[in-house]
Symmetry: C2
Subunit: 364 residues, 2 copies
C-alpha cells in the first residue's frame, strides 16, 4: 500500500467549524511504509497552504514529492519504520473537496458558496482519514507552516489521537504582519477582473495569482538570503523586454517572475483565497478561551517545535512561545531555533539542518 | 521669505544622468528662516518618495508639513538659526517637472516618454535650487529614505557644496528585498487596466495605487509595532461589508485600507513608478566604480547617520555600513541606532527619538 494516492469519502454530512455543512466530502491522501500490527507506527502529515498530498515519490508515482528529501526509507521520516500518511487539505484542489469542487447539492462548483474554511475543518478531515485507516493513536502529527497550525488544532480537538506533534515554522495564531501579507495577496487576486467574483473558468485569475505569488515569495524567503544570493546582480539579457521602462532589471525580479510563472495554473484561485483566510482566522485560543486553556486540552507525550531565525511570516519568537505553551509536567518538549537563511521556506530547502532534528525526535 | 512655495525654472537643457534631456525644468521648493550674511546657515532637505516640498507650515501656508515637528523656530532643525530649503524631487508631481508634466517640445504630458529618472538627477536639481538662492556651501544636506540617497548623491557629485550630511533610514544602494517590494508595487500599478500603459487621465490607476500603497505600508512599518498595536483585534463593525467572504476582518486590514484610501488621488501613478525605480537603480558605487572610491570623493566635515532597528526596507545594517563608509581622517561621523517601533516610517512619527539626535548634531 505504498505511495498510492487514495481518496476517502465521508458518508455523513461534514459540519464546518464556523457554520455550514458539506455533503460527500472527499479527502485525498497518500501513504508510504507499512502500518504495524498494533497500529502504533503511524505518522500524519498536514501540509502548508499550497502542496498536495504527494509529499514523497512512490512506486506508483515516482515524481518527487514536496518533501522528497525528508520522507523515505532511511530518511528522517523513515518509511522503513513508520507508516506515513499525508493528506491534501480540505479546501485545496488536489483531490480533496474545496471551492473548486462540484457541490453535489447543486451540480455546480461551490466557488464562493463554499462555507468559511477553518484550520479545524482541515484537522477534522485528517482525523477522518486516520479513522478510515483504522489508526486509533498516531505516533506523531507533523506539520510545517499552515500544517503546523493544523497539527495543533488536531492535537487540541482529538487529544487522545496522537502521542506527539512536530510543529515546524508555525504558530498558535497569526500576527498582524502575516495577516497583512496574506490579506493583500487575496485583495490582489480579487482585483484581477478574470477572478470575476469567483466565477471564472479554469484555474482563475492567472494574473492576480501571478502577483500574489510574488508577494507570497517575498514573505516566504529572507532579505539576508537574497542579499547573499542576488545582491544587485542584473537579470540576464535573455529576459523578455517589455514595452515600457518598468520591466525586469535585477536578478531578484527575474527570480520572482520565474517562481510566479511556475505557480500560476497550478492552484485554483478560490481555493487559495479560502486557505489563506483560514490561516488568518486560526487562533488556538478559541479552544478554551485562551492559549493556556487550549494547551491544557493537550495529551501529548512529546512535542518538537522548530523555528527559523530568518522567518518573517512565522517569526522565531512565535515558535518560542509555542514551545513554552506546550510545556506540561511529564511532557518532553524540544525547541530548535535554526539559523537557516531561507526564511519561512527553509523547511523545504535547508534539509541538512532540518533532517537531523526531525530524525532525532522521531527516533527518540 | 519664510514659507513661500517658489519654483525655479532652469534656463538650460537639463541632461539626465542615464541619458536624455529635459527642457524648461521647473523645481518647486519651500524655505523657512533667513539666510545669514555670509550664506553659511543654509540647510537643504531632500524628501522620501512621496512628500512635497511642504515640510513645515509657514505664514503663507499654515497647513502642517510632512516634517512639521522637526522644522521650525526652536525645533531640531531650528529656523531661528538656519535657513532651511526643501525641494520637491524632479520626477515628482508637486510643482517640480515629472512624468505628469507637459513636455514643452510636444505640448503633451511626458508620461512614459520621460527619460529614466536617477537619484543623481534629483540631487542635481537640488544643486540648481541652491545656485539660484546664491548659496555656495550648505551647512548640511538632510535626507530621510530616498532623500538620504539623494543627499549622498549630492555630496558625491557636488563635494564642495556642503559641509555635512544627515542621512536618515537610507542606504548607499538598495538591496534585493527592498527592490522586490518596490518592483512588485510597480507591477501592481501597471496591472491596473486604468494605468493604460501610462496614458490615463487624472491621477491614474487608483485601484493599482491603492494596492501598491498597502504593500508600501507593509514595508514602511514593522511587525513588532503592529503586533503591539493591533494584535488580533477585529475591525470595527462599521466597516463596509463586501459582497464576498474576503473583506476586512482584522484591524490591521482596516488600518491598511484607511492609509491606502488617503493616498490614492494624492500622487500621480507614473511619477510613483519613476521615483520608485530610481531608488532601485541608485548605487553610490557607480561614482568611482566602488563604494570606497565613491566615498573618497566626499569632502564632508561631519556626517550623521541614523537608522532604526525595526526598519525592514532600509535595514539598520545598511546604516551601519554607510557610517563606516563615511569614516575619513579628520571627519566626525556619528551613527545612531534607534530602537523605534515604527520601522522605516519612524522618522515621521517617533519624533521624541529623532529630534534630540538631529538637534544635537546641528548644534554641534
Amino acid at each position: 500500500m505504498s505511495g498510492n494516492r487514495r481518496i476517502i469519502t465521508l458518508d455523513k454530512p461534514f459540519a464546518m467549524h464556523r457554520g455550514g455543512e458539506l455533503h460527500g466530502v472527499e479527502i485525498a491522501y497518500e501513504n508510504w511504509g507499512r502500518l504495524n500490527g498494533d497500529g502504533s507506527n503511524a505518522i500524519l502529515i498536514f501540509t502548508g497552504l499550497s502542496p498536495s498530498a504527494h509529499a514523497a515519490s512512490a512506486s506508483t508515482d515516482p515524481s518527487p514529492g514536496w518533501w522528497e528529501d525528508m520522507i523515505g526509507p532511511g530518511r528522517a521520516i523513515d518509511t522503513d519504520h513508520y507508516f506515513v500518511v499525508c493528506v491534501n487539505s480540505l479546501g485545496s484542489c488536489f483531490g480533496s473537496t474545496g471551492p473548486a469542487s462540484v457541490d453535489p447539492g447543486t451540480g455546480k462548483r461551490y466557488r464562493l458558496s463554499f462555507p468559511i474554511l477553518s484550520i479545524e475543518d482541515i484537522a477534522d478531515c485528517g482525523a477522518a482519514v486516520v479513522d478510515a485507516l483504522g489508526i486509533s493513536r498516531l505516533a506523531s502529527v507533523i506539520g510545517p507552516s499552515m500544517g503546523g497550525m493544523t497539527a495543533l488544532a488536531f492535537a487540541c480537538m482529538h487529544p487522545e489521537r496522537t502521542a506527539s506533534v512536530v510543529l515546524i515554522s508555525s504558530a498558535a495564531r497569526a500576527l498582524p504582519f502575516a495577516i497583512a501579507m496574506r490579506s493583500l495577496q487575496r485583495e490582489i487576486i480579487r482585483f484581477d477582473p478574470a477572478w470575476d467574483n469567483g466565477n471564472y473558468e479554469g484555474h482563475g485569475a492567472d494574473a492576480g495569482m501571478h502577483l500574489a505569488r510574488k508577494l507570497g515569495m517575498i514573505s516566504y524567503r529572507s532579505a539576508l538570503e537574497w542579499k547573499q544570493r542576488f545582491g544587485r546582480e542584473r537579470a540576464s539579457a535573455d529576459e523578455p523586454v517589455p514595452d515600457h521602462p518598468f520591466g525586469i532589471e535585477f536578478e531578484i525580479e527575474s527570480y520572482l517572475e520565474h517562481h510566479a510563472r511556475k505557480f500560476i495554473g497550478s492552484f485554483d484561485a478560490n481555493c487559495y483565497l479560502y486557505l489563506s483566510r483560514a490561516m488568518d482566522l486560526f487562533d488556538l485560543a478559541d479552544h478554551g478561551g485562551c492559549l493556556d486553556a487550549a494547551a491544557d486540552c493537550l495529551q501529548l507525550d512529546r512535542a518538537l517545535v522548530i523555528g527559523v531565525e530568518t522567518d518573517i511570516l512565522f517569526p522565531l519568537e512565535q515558535q518560542r512561545e509555542l514551545a513554552g505553551l506546550l510545556q506540561a509536567p511529564g511532557r518532553e518538549v524540544e525547541f530548535e531555533a535554526l539559523p537557516s537563511l531561507q526564511g519561512h521556506d527553509s523547511f523545504l530547502v535547508d534539509m541538512d539542518r532540518f533532517r537531523p532534528v526531525v530524525s532525532r525526535f522521531l527516533r527518540g
